[in-house]
Amino acid sequence: MNEFIKTRLLDNNAALVQMLGLCPLLAVSNTAINALGMGLATIAVVVTTNLLVSLIRPITHKEIRIPLFVLLIASTVTTLEMMMNAYFHQLYLTLGIFIPLIVTNCLIMARAEAFASKNAYWISVKDGFFVGLGFAMVLFLIGVMREIIGQGTLFSQAHLLLGEWGHHIELTLFSDYAGFLIAILPPGAFFALAVLVALKNKRDLKITKKNHE
Protein backbone atom coordinates (compact mmCIF):
# COMPACT_ATOMS: atom_id res chain seq x y z
CA MET A 1 0.00 0.00 0.00
CA ASN A 2 1.59 3.28 -0.95
CA GLU A 3 2.04 6.11 1.49
CA PHE A 4 -0.64 8.36 -0.08
CA ILE A 5 -3.35 5.76 0.48
CA LYS A 6 -2.08 4.52 3.83
CA THR A 7 -2.09 8.00 5.36
CA ARG A 8 -5.67 8.54 4.33
CA LEU A 9 -7.05 5.15 5.29
CA LEU A 10 -5.19 4.63 8.54
CA ASP A 11 -2.40 6.84 9.84
CA ASN A 12 -4.34 10.06 9.56
CA ASN A 13 -7.85 8.65 9.33
CA ALA A 14 -10.44 11.43 9.25
CA ALA A 15 -12.67 9.90 11.92
CA LEU A 16 -10.15 8.15 14.18
CA VAL A 17 -7.31 10.66 14.23
CA GLN A 18 -8.67 13.99 13.04
CA MET A 19 -12.05 13.39 14.72
CA LEU A 20 -13.81 15.01 11.81
CA GLY A 21 -17.40 14.43 10.80
CA LEU A 22 -18.48 12.90 14.08
CA CYS A 23 -22.01 14.27 13.71
CA PRO A 24 -23.13 11.86 10.93
CA LEU A 25 -20.77 9.24 12.34
CA LEU A 26 -22.71 9.08 15.57
CA ALA A 27 -26.16 9.66 14.13
CA VAL A 28 -26.43 6.87 11.56
CA SER A 29 -24.07 4.16 12.76
CA ASN A 30 -26.74 2.18 14.63
CA THR A 31 -26.88 -0.57 12.02
CA ALA A 32 -24.29 -1.81 9.54
CA ILE A 33 -26.50 -1.03 6.56
CA ASN A 34 -27.32 2.52 7.66
CA ALA A 35 -23.61 3.11 8.22
CA LEU A 36 -22.74 1.67 4.82
CA GLY A 37 -25.32 3.83 3.05
CA MET A 38 -24.11 6.97 4.79
CA GLY A 39 -20.49 6.03 4.10
CA LEU A 40 -21.15 5.62 0.37
CA ALA A 41 -23.05 8.92 0.23
CA THR A 42 -20.17 10.68 1.99
CA ILE A 43 -17.61 9.24 -0.45
CA ALA A 44 -19.74 10.43 -3.38
CA VAL A 45 -19.99 13.94 -1.93
CA VAL A 46 -16.35 14.36 -0.93
CA VAL A 47 -15.12 13.12 -4.32
CA THR A 48 -17.45 15.51 -6.16
CA THR A 49 -16.68 18.53 -4.00
CA ASN A 50 -12.93 17.88 -4.14
CA LEU A 51 -13.16 17.77 -7.95
CA LEU A 52 -15.21 20.99 -8.12
CA VAL A 53 -13.07 22.86 -5.61
CA SER A 54 -9.95 21.85 -7.51
CA LEU A 55 -11.48 22.96 -10.82
CA ILE A 56 -12.40 26.44 -9.59
CA ARG A 57 -8.88 27.12 -8.26
CA PRO A 58 -8.21 29.76 -10.95
CA ILE A 59 -11.03 31.97 -9.64
CA THR A 60 -10.64 31.11 -5.93
CA HIS A 61 -9.21 33.99 -3.92
CA LYS A 62 -8.13 33.65 -0.34
CA GLU A 63 -10.77 36.08 0.93
CA ILE A 64 -13.78 34.37 -0.61
CA ARG A 65 -12.72 30.77 -0.57
CA ILE A 66 -14.91 29.70 2.36
CA PRO A 67 -18.20 31.01 0.88
CA LEU A 68 -17.25 29.45 -2.45
CA PHE A 69 -16.64 26.06 -0.84
CA VAL A 70 -19.87 26.30 1.14
CA LEU A 71 -21.78 27.09 -2.05
CA LEU A 72 -20.30 24.11 -3.86
CA ILE A 73 -20.76 21.65 -0.99
CA ALA A 74 -24.33 22.73 -0.27
CA SER A 75 -25.38 22.49 -3.93
CA THR A 76 -23.68 19.12 -4.37
CA VAL A 77 -25.42 17.66 -1.34
CA THR A 78 -28.79 19.11 -2.32
CA THR A 79 -28.45 17.72 -5.83
CA LEU A 80 -27.49 14.33 -4.43
CA GLU A 81 -30.51 14.43 -2.14
CA MET A 82 -32.89 15.21 -5.00
CA MET A 83 -31.36 12.52 -7.22
CA MET A 84 -31.62 9.95 -4.44
CA ASN A 85 -35.21 10.89 -3.74
CA ALA A 86 -36.09 10.44 -7.40
CA TYR A 87 -34.04 7.39 -8.37
CA PHE A 88 -33.26 5.50 -5.14
CA HIS A 89 -36.43 6.25 -3.25
CA GLN A 90 -36.28 3.29 -0.85
CA LEU A 91 -32.80 4.23 0.27
CA TYR A 92 -33.86 7.85 0.52
CA LEU A 93 -36.63 6.89 2.94
CA THR A 94 -34.02 5.40 5.28
CA LEU A 95 -31.15 7.84 4.88
CA GLY A 96 -33.10 10.85 3.66
CA ILE A 97 -33.05 12.87 6.83
CA PHE A 98 -29.32 12.29 7.25
CA ILE A 99 -28.24 13.38 3.78
CA PRO A 100 -28.50 17.12 4.59
CA LEU A 101 -26.25 16.29 7.57
CA ILE A 102 -23.42 15.71 5.11
CA VAL A 103 -23.29 19.48 4.58
CA THR A 104 -22.25 19.85 8.19
CA ASN A 105 -19.59 17.16 7.87
CA CYS A 106 -16.44 19.18 8.42
CA LEU A 107 -14.47 16.37 6.80
CA ILE A 108 -15.64 17.68 3.45
CA MET A 109 -14.75 21.29 4.18
CA ALA A 110 -11.41 20.15 5.58
CA ARG A 111 -10.45 18.30 2.39
CA ALA A 112 -11.57 21.24 0.26
CA GLU A 113 -9.49 23.68 2.27
CA ALA A 114 -6.45 21.55 3.03
CA PHE A 115 -6.08 19.60 -0.17
CA ALA A 116 -8.34 20.23 -3.14
CA SER A 117 -7.85 23.99 -3.19
CA LYS A 118 -4.11 23.47 -3.62
CA ASN A 119 -3.91 20.46 -5.91
CA ALA A 120 -4.75 19.35 -9.43
CA TYR A 121 -8.11 17.78 -10.04
CA TRP A 122 -7.11 14.14 -10.53
CA ILE A 123 -5.11 13.87 -7.32
CA SER A 124 -7.90 15.75 -5.50
CA VAL A 125 -10.40 13.16 -6.66
CA LYS A 126 -8.09 10.41 -5.40
CA ASP A 127 -7.66 12.26 -2.11
CA GLY A 128 -11.42 12.59 -1.72
CA PHE A 129 -11.96 8.94 -2.49
CA PHE A 130 -9.45 7.56 0.01
CA VAL A 131 -10.27 10.00 2.80
CA GLY A 132 -13.94 9.21 2.22
CA LEU A 133 -13.19 5.50 2.20
CA GLY A 134 -11.29 5.77 5.48
CA PHE A 135 -14.26 7.56 6.98
CA ALA A 136 -16.75 5.06 5.56
CA MET A 137 -14.73 2.14 6.93
CA VAL A 138 -14.83 3.53 10.46
CA LEU A 139 -18.53 4.29 10.09
CA PHE A 140 -19.17 0.74 8.90
CA LEU A 141 -17.14 -0.86 11.70
CA ILE A 142 -19.01 1.15 14.33
CA GLY A 143 -22.28 0.14 12.66
CA VAL A 144 -21.29 -3.54 12.77
CA MET A 145 -20.28 -3.34 16.43
CA ARG A 146 -23.41 -1.48 17.50
CA GLU A 147 -25.74 -3.75 15.56
CA ILE A 148 -24.23 -7.00 16.85
CA ILE A 149 -24.14 -5.84 20.45
CA GLY A 150 -27.40 -3.93 20.36
CA GLN A 151 -29.65 -6.23 18.37
CA GLY A 152 -27.74 -9.47 17.88
CA THR A 153 -28.15 -9.16 14.10
CA LEU A 154 -25.96 -8.17 11.19
CA PHE A 155 -26.98 -6.47 7.93
CA SER A 156 -30.61 -6.30 8.97
CA GLN A 157 -32.71 -4.41 6.41
CA ALA A 158 -30.00 -4.89 3.80
CA HIS A 159 -32.71 -4.96 1.14
CA LEU A 160 -33.25 -1.22 1.62
CA LEU A 161 -29.77 -0.61 0.27
CA LEU A 162 -29.13 -3.61 -1.98
CA GLY A 163 -32.56 -4.51 -3.31
CA GLU A 164 -34.25 -7.88 -3.08
CA TRP A 165 -31.15 -10.05 -2.78
CA GLY A 166 -30.24 -8.12 0.37
CA HIS A 167 -32.67 -10.39 2.22
CA HIS A 168 -30.17 -13.23 1.82
CA ILE A 169 -27.37 -11.60 3.77
CA GLU A 170 -29.51 -10.53 6.72
CA LEU A 171 -28.12 -12.51 9.63
CA THR A 172 -29.48 -13.16 13.07
CA LEU A 173 -26.43 -14.04 15.13
CA PHE A 174 -28.14 -14.80 18.39
CA SER A 175 -31.75 -15.81 18.16
CA ASP A 176 -33.74 -14.85 21.22
CA TYR A 177 -31.28 -12.06 22.03
CA ALA A 178 -32.75 -9.57 24.46
CA GLY A 179 -30.89 -6.64 22.94
CA PHE A 180 -28.60 -4.15 24.59
CA LEU A 181 -30.27 -0.81 24.28
CA ILE A 182 -27.33 1.46 25.02
CA ALA A 183 -25.41 0.19 22.00
CA ILE A 184 -28.19 1.41 19.73
CA LEU A 185 -28.76 4.73 21.45
CA PRO A 186 -26.30 7.58 20.73
CA PRO A 187 -23.96 6.79 23.68
CA GLY A 188 -23.25 3.44 22.04
CA ALA A 189 -21.67 5.28 19.14
CA PHE A 190 -19.26 7.03 21.49
CA PHE A 191 -18.28 3.75 23.14
CA ALA A 192 -17.71 2.04 19.78
CA LEU A 193 -15.69 4.98 18.50
CA ALA A 194 -13.62 4.99 21.70
CA VAL A 195 -12.82 1.30 21.25
CA LEU A 196 -11.64 1.89 17.67
CA VAL A 197 -9.56 4.92 18.65
CA ALA A 198 -7.96 2.91 21.47
CA LEU A 199 -7.07 0.08 19.10
CA LYS A 200 -5.59 2.54 16.62
CA ASN A 201 -3.53 4.22 19.35
CA LYS A 202 -2.27 0.88 20.55
CA ARG A 203 -1.06 0.07 17.06
CA ASP A 204 0.62 3.47 16.74
CA LEU A 205 2.38 2.97 20.06
CA LYS A 206 3.71 -0.40 18.97
CA ILE A 207 5.11 1.10 15.80
CA THR A 208 6.78 3.98 17.66
CA LYS A 209 8.36 1.54 20.10
CA LYS A 210 9.68 -0.59 17.25
CA ASN A 211 11.20 2.46 15.59
CA HIS A 212 12.96 3.43 18.81
CA GLU A 213 14.56 0.04 19.30
Binding site: I59, L71, M82, A86, L181
Partner: protein, 213 residues
Protein backbone atom coordinates in the same frame (compact mmCIF):
# COMPACT_ATOMS: atom_id res chain seq x y z
CA UNK B 1 -16.31 54.78 5.02
CA UNK B 2 -16.41 55.45 1.31
CA UNK B 3 -13.07 57.22 1.45
CA UNK B 4 -11.46 54.39 3.35
CA UNK B 5 -12.77 51.85 0.94
CA UNK B 6 -11.45 53.83 -2.01
CA UNK B 7 -8.08 54.23 -0.31
CA UNK B 8 -7.79 50.55 0.30
CA UNK B 9 -8.56 49.74 -3.29
CA UNK B 10 -5.93 52.21 -4.42
CA UNK B 11 -3.33 50.92 -1.98
CA UNK B 12 -3.91 47.35 -2.91
CA UNK B 13 -4.49 47.02 -6.61
CA UNK B 14 -5.32 43.36 -6.26
CA UNK B 15 -8.67 43.52 -8.00
CA UNK B 16 -10.77 43.48 -4.83
CA UNK B 17 -13.76 44.53 -6.91
CA UNK B 18 -13.53 41.22 -8.67
CA UNK B 19 -14.27 39.14 -5.57
CA UNK B 20 -18.00 39.89 -5.22
CA UNK B 21 -18.35 39.33 -8.93
CA UNK B 22 -16.77 35.91 -8.65
CA UNK B 23 -19.06 35.06 -5.75
CA UNK B 24 -22.11 36.28 -7.66
CA UNK B 25 -21.04 34.33 -10.69
CA UNK B 26 -20.59 31.11 -8.72
CA UNK B 27 -23.92 31.64 -6.96
CA UNK B 28 -25.52 31.96 -10.38
CA UNK B 29 -23.88 28.76 -11.59
CA UNK B 30 -24.79 26.72 -8.52
CA UNK B 31 -28.37 28.09 -8.50
CA UNK B 32 -28.59 27.10 -12.14
CA UNK B 33 -27.37 23.62 -11.27
CA UNK B 34 -29.94 23.31 -8.49
CA UNK B 35 -32.74 24.56 -10.76
CA UNK B 36 -31.68 22.05 -13.37
CA UNK B 37 -31.61 19.07 -11.02
CA UNK B 38 -34.88 20.20 -9.45
CA UNK B 39 -36.52 20.38 -12.88
CA UNK B 40 -35.07 16.98 -13.68
CA UNK B 41 -36.35 15.27 -10.54
CA UNK B 42 -39.41 17.26 -9.37
CA UNK B 43 -41.98 15.40 -11.48
CA UNK B 44 -40.57 12.04 -10.55
CA UNK B 45 -40.49 12.86 -6.84
CA UNK B 46 -44.05 14.21 -6.91
CA UNK B 47 -45.19 11.07 -8.74
CA UNK B 48 -43.50 8.81 -6.18
CA UNK B 49 -45.03 10.71 -3.28
CA UNK B 50 -48.50 10.61 -4.80
CA UNK B 51 -48.13 6.91 -5.55
CA UNK B 52 -46.99 6.20 -1.98
CA UNK B 53 -49.96 8.11 -0.61
CA UNK B 54 -52.42 6.32 -2.89
CA UNK B 55 -50.85 2.93 -2.14
CA UNK B 56 -51.13 3.54 1.56
CA UNK B 57 -54.73 4.79 1.22
CA UNK B 58 -55.54 1.75 -0.85
CA UNK B 59 -54.29 -0.53 1.90
CA UNK B 60 -56.39 1.37 4.44
CA UNK B 61 -59.50 1.52 2.30
CA UNK B 62 -59.45 -1.26 -0.32
CA UNK B 63 -60.80 -0.47 -3.79
CA UNK B 64 -63.61 -3.00 -3.71
CA UNK B 65 -65.29 -1.15 -0.83
CA UNK B 66 -65.59 2.22 -2.54
CA UNK B 67 -66.51 4.05 -5.70
CA UNK B 68 -65.44 7.57 -4.75
CA UNK B 69 -62.19 9.52 -4.94
CA UNK B 70 -60.60 9.36 -1.48
CA UNK B 71 -58.35 12.37 -1.89
CA UNK B 72 -61.17 14.62 -3.14
CA UNK B 73 -63.64 13.53 -0.46
CA UNK B 74 -61.26 13.87 2.48
CA UNK B 75 -62.54 16.11 5.27
CA UNK B 76 -60.66 18.18 7.84
CA UNK B 77 -60.76 16.91 11.40
CA UNK B 78 -59.46 18.38 14.65
CA UNK B 79 -59.88 16.16 17.72
CA UNK B 80 -57.17 17.09 20.23
CA UNK B 81 -58.69 15.11 23.11
CA UNK B 82 -59.90 11.87 21.57
CA UNK B 83 -57.37 11.54 18.75
CA UNK B 84 -54.47 13.58 20.10
CA UNK B 85 -54.36 15.96 17.14
CA UNK B 86 -52.06 18.95 17.32
CA UNK B 87 -53.42 20.46 14.14
CA UNK B 88 -56.13 19.79 11.59
CA UNK B 89 -55.71 16.36 10.01
CA UNK B 90 -57.34 14.70 7.00
CA UNK B 91 -60.02 12.09 7.59
CA UNK B 92 -60.52 9.94 4.50
CA UNK B 93 -64.01 8.65 3.78
CA UNK B 94 -64.64 5.70 1.51
CA UNK B 95 -68.15 5.65 0.01
CA UNK B 96 -70.10 3.29 -2.17
CA UNK B 97 -73.39 4.42 -3.72
CA UNK B 98 -73.27 7.46 -1.46
CA UNK B 99 -73.02 5.45 1.78
CA UNK B 100 -69.90 5.51 3.94
CA UNK B 101 -68.26 2.09 3.81
CA UNK B 102 -64.86 2.75 5.38
CA UNK B 103 -62.79 5.47 7.01
CA UNK B 104 -59.11 6.16 7.44
CA UNK B 105 -58.89 7.94 10.79
CA UNK B 106 -55.81 10.03 11.60
CA UNK B 107 -54.52 9.58 15.16
CA UNK B 108 -51.57 11.18 16.90
CA UNK B 109 -50.05 9.22 19.78
CA UNK B 110 -48.46 11.79 22.05
CA UNK B 111 -46.92 9.24 24.42
CA UNK B 112 -44.31 7.68 22.14
CA UNK B 113 -40.74 7.16 23.31
CA UNK B 114 -39.50 10.24 21.47
CA UNK B 115 -42.10 12.60 20.15
CA UNK B 116 -45.42 12.08 18.44
CA UNK B 117 -46.32 9.02 16.41
CA UNK B 118 -48.80 9.75 13.64
CA UNK B 119 -50.95 6.94 12.31
CA UNK B 120 -53.84 6.36 9.96
CA UNK B 121 -56.23 3.62 11.03
CA UNK B 122 -58.51 2.13 8.38
CA UNK B 123 -61.86 0.91 9.71
CA UNK B 124 -64.79 -0.62 7.87
CA UNK B 125 -68.19 0.95 8.40
CA UNK B 126 -71.54 -0.81 8.05
CA UNK B 127 -72.23 -4.29 6.76
CA UNK B 128 -71.21 -7.41 8.62
CA UNK B 129 -67.61 -6.27 8.89
CA UNK B 130 -68.59 -3.10 10.75
CA UNK B 131 -65.84 -1.80 13.03
CA UNK B 132 -63.13 -4.13 11.76
CA UNK B 133 -59.67 -2.70 11.13
CA UNK B 134 -58.57 -2.98 7.50
CA UNK B 135 -55.00 -1.78 8.02
CA UNK B 136 -52.86 0.58 10.07
CA UNK B 137 -50.25 2.87 8.52
CA UNK B 138 -47.49 4.70 10.39
CA UNK B 139 -47.28 8.15 8.83
CA UNK B 140 -44.50 9.70 10.89
CA UNK B 141 -42.49 8.84 14.00
CA UNK B 142 -39.14 9.50 15.62
CA UNK B 143 -38.79 6.27 17.59
CA UNK B 144 -35.43 4.65 18.30
CA UNK B 145 -33.95 3.11 15.14
CA UNK B 146 -33.72 -0.65 15.50
CA UNK B 147 -36.16 -0.81 18.40
CA UNK B 148 -39.21 1.41 18.39
CA UNK B 149 -39.10 1.78 14.64
CA UNK B 150 -40.00 -1.89 14.27
CA UNK B 151 -43.58 -0.60 14.24
CA UNK B 152 -42.91 0.23 10.58
CA UNK B 153 -44.30 -2.46 8.32
CA UNK B 154 -41.19 -2.48 6.18
CA UNK B 155 -39.05 -3.29 9.22
CA UNK B 156 -41.14 -5.90 11.00
CA UNK B 157 -44.53 -7.59 10.92
CA UNK B 158 -45.60 -6.15 14.24
CA UNK B 159 -48.26 -3.87 12.75
CA UNK B 160 -49.84 -6.77 10.87
CA UNK B 161 -51.52 -8.14 13.98
CA UNK B 162 -54.14 -5.39 13.85
CA UNK B 163 -56.07 -5.94 10.58
CA UNK B 164 -59.26 -7.83 11.40
CA UNK B 165 -59.29 -6.69 15.04
CA UNK B 166 -62.13 -4.59 16.47
CA UNK B 167 -63.46 -3.37 19.80
CA UNK B 168 -65.26 -6.73 20.19
CA UNK B 169 -62.38 -8.92 19.12
CA UNK B 170 -60.42 -8.66 21.41
CA UNK B 171 -62.62 -7.15 24.11
CA UNK B 172 -62.19 -3.47 24.83
CA UNK B 173 -60.26 -4.04 28.06
CA UNK B 174 -57.73 -6.25 26.28
CA UNK B 175 -56.58 -3.47 23.95
CA UNK B 176 -53.14 -3.44 25.55
CA UNK B 177 -49.80 -5.12 25.05
CA UNK B 178 -49.28 -8.51 26.68
CA UNK B 179 -47.01 -7.02 29.31
CA UNK B 180 -50.03 -5.04 30.56
CA UNK B 181 -52.26 -8.19 30.46
CA UNK B 182 -53.60 -7.29 27.02
CA UNK B 183 -53.92 -9.19 23.76
CA UNK B 184 -51.22 -7.69 21.60
CA UNK B 185 -47.59 -8.63 21.11
CA UNK B 186 -45.02 -6.13 22.21
CA UNK B 187 -41.59 -5.50 20.72
CA UNK B 188 -38.62 -6.88 22.61
CA UNK B 189 -36.73 -4.14 24.47
CA UNK B 190 -39.23 -1.50 23.37
CA UNK B 191 -42.40 -1.32 25.45
CA UNK B 192 -43.32 2.34 25.33
CA UNK B 193 -43.74 2.56 21.57
CA UNK B 194 -46.09 -0.43 21.13
CA UNK B 195 -48.05 0.68 24.17
CA UNK B 196 -48.57 4.10 22.61
CA UNK B 197 -49.53 2.67 19.21
CA UNK B 198 -52.01 0.14 20.63
CA UNK B 199 -53.65 2.89 22.70
CA UNK B 200 -53.81 5.18 19.66
CA UNK B 201 -55.46 2.50 17.51
CA UNK B 202 -57.98 1.91 20.27
CA UNK B 203 -58.77 5.64 20.33
CA UNK B 204 -59.46 5.51 16.59
CA UNK B 205 -61.87 2.60 17.14
CA UNK B 206 -63.61 4.50 19.94
CA UNK B 207 -63.88 7.55 17.69
CA UNK B 208 -65.37 5.38 14.98
CA UNK B 209 -67.95 3.91 17.37
CA UNK B 210 -68.85 7.29 18.81
CA UNK B 211 -69.64 8.73 15.42
CA UNK B 212 -71.64 5.80 14.13
CA UNK B 213 -75.26 6.61 13.45
Amino acid sequence: MTEQATNQTQNKPNRTWLLPLILAFMTLITSGLLMFSHALTADKIAAIQLKNKLDSLQRLIPDHLIDNNLVDDAIDLYEPVLLGHRQTEKLYLGKKNGLITAMAIPVTARNGYSGDIKLLVGIQVGGNQNGLITAVEIIAHKETPGLGDLIETKKSDWLLQFPGASLQQPAETLWQVKKDQGEFDQITAATITPRAVVAAIKQALLFNREFQP
